[in-house]
């Protein structure tokens, strides 16, 4: 009969304690402890196009990156500003249509339409969402969920921009190489840019608004301005992703407002680890290829990632990143009590 009970003990690795916060780095080893994960991330992302066997999978890489940008923007809005936007499709669709319009009506080349779509789309989305900014929680989530549906119906009802057929014959990127490195570069820039941004004094205000917006107001700060800024950043990212998507598929249409673009980034964020910014990208790297593999099964892949999503929400709400981080930074051992 074993009456001996154990519990798991977690202890920070010494190297982690030394290199945490103060950055008093004593050796190459400590330096590499800090930089290795980041380096692997960057190198891995950059080498992806070479690792992929054929055109089809290289295309998948681009799609992964587009979803990754979208998931990043969701994670930033939800976990650093406290605005849970279920309207990723709204950003994608707006960006996609703007790029499409600029390219097919004004024949502006892709390398200009993408940044233009990001800026114009960002402004457009921010203006559209501006009246909703005082809303909180469920209300903001529902209203953002409705926007993409609304836009799709408006385009359909007024039969503008090609109506249900969408805009066709849009230029693609000059080469698949340029396409992939452009989106990969964007993911990395946005990732590290946002990580840096949220720790600046200005970034802290966003976190404070999420924690407690009343107190921020009492500190003499106009929270609507900051929320609008956050929405602009997030929607500009989303619109840029949408513009890239349009140029990759050489087409923009109503299905860019489809719920797929809203739900997959959220799933990726939950699976990867919400509030970590890296997590969403990891999540996309896992989810998108798997769902491509399951493409033959048709809509079963949606069932598949919806169930994974539920599973993660219930049992591993911290996501993969939290797990990985813990393993990287802490010893675990069983001790007798």
């Amino acid at each position: 009969m074993s009456t001996q009970e154990s519990r798991k003990e977690r202890i920070n690795r010494g190297i982690k304690v030394r290199s945490d916060g103060l950055y008093a780095l004593m050796s190459w080893r400590e330096l590499s402890y800090l930089t290795l994960p980041r380096f692997i991330m960057i190198a891995g992302m950059l080498s992806l196009p070479f690792l992929m066997p054929d055109m089809y999978w290289q295309r998948v890489i681009s799609i992964v990156c587009i979803y990754a940008i979208l998931a990043l923007s969701f994670d930033f809005l939800a976990h650093y500003v406290g605005l849970v936007s279920l309207g990723g499709a709204f950003f994608i669709g707006t960006g996609g249509y703007i790029a499409g319009i600029l390219n097919s009506y004004f024949s502006i080349p892709p390398f200009l339409t993408v940044p233009l779509a990001a800026i114009i789309g960002g402004i457009f989305c921010t203006l559209m969402l501006l009246p909703c900014l005082p809303l909180k929680g469920v209300y903001f989530a529902i209203v953002t969920l409705m926007y993409p549906l609304f836009m799709a119906r408006v385009i359909e009802a007024f039969d503008i921009f090609g109506g249900t057929d969408g805009l066709v014959g849009i230029d693609s990127f000059s080469s698949s190489f340029a396409e992939q490195y452009f989106v990969i570069g964007m993911v990395l820039i946005f990732l590290f840019g946002l990580r840096r941004f949220v720790t600046t004094d200005r970034g802290l205000i966003f976190t404070a608004i999420m924690d407690n917006d009343q107190a921020v107001k009492a500190s003499g700060i106009d929270i609507t301005r900051y929320k609008a800024l956050a929405v602009f950043i997030a929607s500009a990212m989303g619109c840029m992703a949408g513009a890239c998507l349009t140029h990759i598929y050489m087409w923009s249409g109503i299905s860019q407002f489809a719920l797929d673009f809203s739900i997959l980034p959220i799933a990726a964020t939950v699976i990867g680890g919400s509030g970590t910014l890296v997590g969403p990208i990891l999540g996309c790297l896992i989810l998108v290829p798997v769902s491509e593999l399951l493409r033959d099964f048709g809509t079963l892949r949606i069932v598949f990632y919806a169930s994974i999503l539920v599973g993660f929400i219930l049992f591993k709400s911290g996501g993969i990143m939290e797990f990985g981080q813990r393993k990287y930074e802490q010893f675990e051992r069983w001790t007798k009590i």
Partner: protein, 261 residues
């Protein structure tokens, strides 16, 4: 007599059918420590919310330095130097204590006034934040200012609320029950802090249940009952008043407080 720094004029507020405030008028003069007391539900916090713009009064006006500030958004009012603490403490739980102060130090007002005492250049907000925390009673050279706010005890959180006001270099601080929930010794250390702030020329409005300590620091007291102003005067006047006794105190405590004063 000088002009009042803060002036309420016939303030009324109605929530649905409930009249939370009925025609309350009072003045606050520069350098005052005004205490507002009253039983639960008498509209004390509603007054704070009306002054600081968190709710709009149904009728009546609020003047700050002769300027009508009724119904202006909270951040504009805070920007003028009218700051408040919250009864239910609202620190930013996911930030460490000192970073809580970075938020007010980032506000336009702090940029203009140079923040806490220091003139002009704001420099590194995080070091200023630690200075303020030390000044308000967080132990220097300890780990406490760096702790997550969610792990701090109530006493520190109350001080943090005050510190957040101070970071704005306020003209008025409206304290919504800073003493409640504190132990006797914590209150005892808080009283000199309030007195010191008064010496520095900050006008203070205190909403309080702890009468003994309030009467120690306040130079004027206003009593509210069911949203109506019962009486306003010096602590001694208020304690002597019959109506107040009936409405609020209950005989025993009055004796106790009076003997103390």
């Amino acid at each position: 007599m000088t002009d009042p720094i803060l002036k309420m004029n016939g303030l009324s507020k109605r929530f649905g059918g409930v009249k939370a405030l009925k025609d309350v008028s009072f003045d606050v003069f520069p350098g005052d420590v005004l205490g507002i007391i009253g039983p639960n539900g008498s509209g004390k916090t509603t007054i704070v919310n009306c002054i600081t713009g968190f709710i709009k009064p149904t009728s009546g006006k609020v003047f700050f330095r002769g300027k009508d500030i009724t119904g202006r958004p909270p951040h504009k009012i805070a920007d003028m130097g009218v700051t408040r603490t919250f009864q239910v403490m609202r620190p930013y739980y996911s930030l460490p204590a000192y970073k809580n102060l970075v938020i007010p130090l980032f506000s336009p007002r702090a940029k203009r006034t140079g923040g806490w005492r220091g003139g002009g250049n704001l420099g590194n907000r995080q070091t200023i934040a630690i200075d303020i925390l030390e000044d308000i009673g967080f132990e220097r050279d300890s780990y406490i200012p760096f702790k997550k706010t969610s792990t701090l005890p109530t006493g520190y959180l109350k001080r943090l609320e005050l510190a957040r006001c101070l970071a704005l270099k306020p003209e008025i601080i409206i304290c919504d029950e800073v003493f409640s929930g504190l132990s006797m010794s914590e209150i005892a250390s808080m009283v000199p802090l309030i007195e010191r702030l008064q010496d520095e020329g900050i006008t203070i409005v205190m909403i309080e249940h702890r009468l003994r300590e309030l009467f120690q620091v306040a130079n004027r007291v206003m009593v509210l009952n069911f949203g109506e102003k019962l009486i306003e005067g010096t602590p001694l006047d208020v304690m002597a008043d019959k109506k107040v006794k009936e409405a609020y105190f209950g005989s025993e405590e009055v004796e106790e407080v009076m003997t103390y004063a």
